[in-house]
Amino acid sequence: MAVREAEPVGSLSEVKEAGLDREDLLGIYRHLLVTRGIEERGHILYKQGKIPGSFYTGRGNEGAAVGVATAMGPNDVGTPLHRDMGVHVTRGVDAWRIFAQYMGREDGPTRGRDGNVHMADSRLGMIAMVSHLPAMLPVAVGCALAFRIRQEKRVAVGWFGEGASARGDAHEAMNFAGVRQLPVVFICDNNQWAYSTPTHLGYAVEQLADRAAAYGFEGVVVDGTDVLAVYREARSAIEKAREGGGPTLLECQTLRMEGHAVHDDAFYVPKELFEEWAKRDPVERFRTWLRENAELSGEEEDEIGGRVKKLLNDALARADESPQPDPSTLLEGVYATPEDLDTPHHK
């Protein structure tokens, strides 16, 4: 089974075939803007000293994240990572709660117990990531195992980066999923740099998706800056998994457009590479596509842009009012109680 390189998405009719109407397209555009806006505002918050610890963004990966999340069904689940803010946004996490999370406040999804994108709203089918990558892949496989045992037509999506692909968890998860043909889709956010380590020091195959063949399933490479191509490929992989066709490894190729985290100026990335990929900015690229293929008007752009701006302003103000966590609650939740199992998932 050779790895397949996905074509870019062309016309509006092609998009309609893939299941998106114009309203969906504008929704994707809005999610891209909100994703980028949250991370840009986060950057400012960090510089204002309002974010403790460090700060991570997924600039350059917005299209890949939003594309995959748009392809997921409402009852599907996933384990997005630190470059995948677009997944949380698309699934419907409120922006103000994300800002509260950044600032370590009580209303963040982790109530100040964890920081930055280490969060998830389980009601939206998301499971919070850990720093150890790709530790969440076996978890995604376990979700898929539960669906297979119960014969539910649900799919789990597990994310990892090309850096994390070097670790054994990735191998164990993909091998097990392949053996049991579980309904799971592996998304590799290949942004070319694992902190300062380039791909040629991380793996020796040509494309990471080449590895899929070793696990007995299909590998697909897609341009991660093309949100519609990502959507189309993710949807096809997710629906294949849902129908019992087993896993797919979808490699979304992008460039990490900022440092590993806010403290890192990425001096080790050649300038020409940044310049080349800046021309393929996923947000700009999709905006242009909408203008050319879906008659996005200047008025519509302004209207959507204005609404996103207001949403972010309101979100920031609301998050800033969120209280600091109460130190007397420190030990709450170290151990779960039986009542904690009373969640949509655990029922």
Partner: protein, 324 residues
Amino acid sequence: MAEMTYLQAISDGLRMEMRRDERVFVIGEDVGVYGGAFKVTLGFQEEFGPWRVIDSPLAETAIVGACTGAAIMGMRPVAEMQFADFVSCAWDHLVTVAAKQRFRAGTPVPIVVRLPSGGGFSGGPFHSQNPESSFAHIPGLKCVCPATPEDAKGLLITAIQDPNPVLFFEHKHLYRRIKSEVPEERYTIPFGKARTHLEGDDVSVITWGAMVYTAGEAAKKLDEDGVSVEIIDLRTVMPWDREAVLASARKTSKVLVLHEDTRTGGFGAEIAATIAEEAFEDLDGPVKRIAAPDCPVPFSPVLEKAFIPQVDDVVAGLRELAAY
């Protein structure tokens, strides 16, 4: 009541929960067709089918990690490590993901990992260890170390019901050696409640797992000396029954902490420190520890005997304390 070995009691409890609750499933290496390396799940696959008794690839992170995912999706997974020693390959997952998910993200992880542990039959460095203390140190995990068939069954059922990740240490040396009456019906035994294995007045032994029996043999010898020994079987080391330990310390004023795990940083150190903090005024002697020396578990029977605390070692320790 029915007479069961320690191993049969574990099988019985597990089978009972699988019959009662279809969310419970078993996953591990060779647990299906083969029935598990120690045959705890013998016949399970015939009864429950291949998707509830799952033969996994040789991949402990995938096994335990998949349990976490399935648990978050509403299942009640029970993983088997072929030997407790191999849990080192899943340590990262248990400590990094499973233990912290409730605290960080509000997502409970109700999984059980069964760990055939302990030495005494030349298993060597990789088939004999008692790694409970390293997990007891991790907030968010629970550690269970039953000593009797009745406890093994009741504590396993409690473990499966518990909303947290539970490590269930089954002592291999007890599997077929220990046999006793076990209630045939379903019952649970609460975590954090110690069992008085032997009542006594002069010296207390705080222990768990197979060492309960070593302490029992030693107590018989001390009885011949006219020294009455009390044996407290912790049953669970996380949570552990501080009240029962402190009550026994206050009663006898002399305490020996005994475990099969190695000495430095072993869970006995925590118990000894707690007694020193909380019951110092009640003591008539130093809290004594007997544990394996700080050394990997050796293979040779002669060396292993020198490694695992023996009845004579405990007798000597108790006599020393009694005479203090």
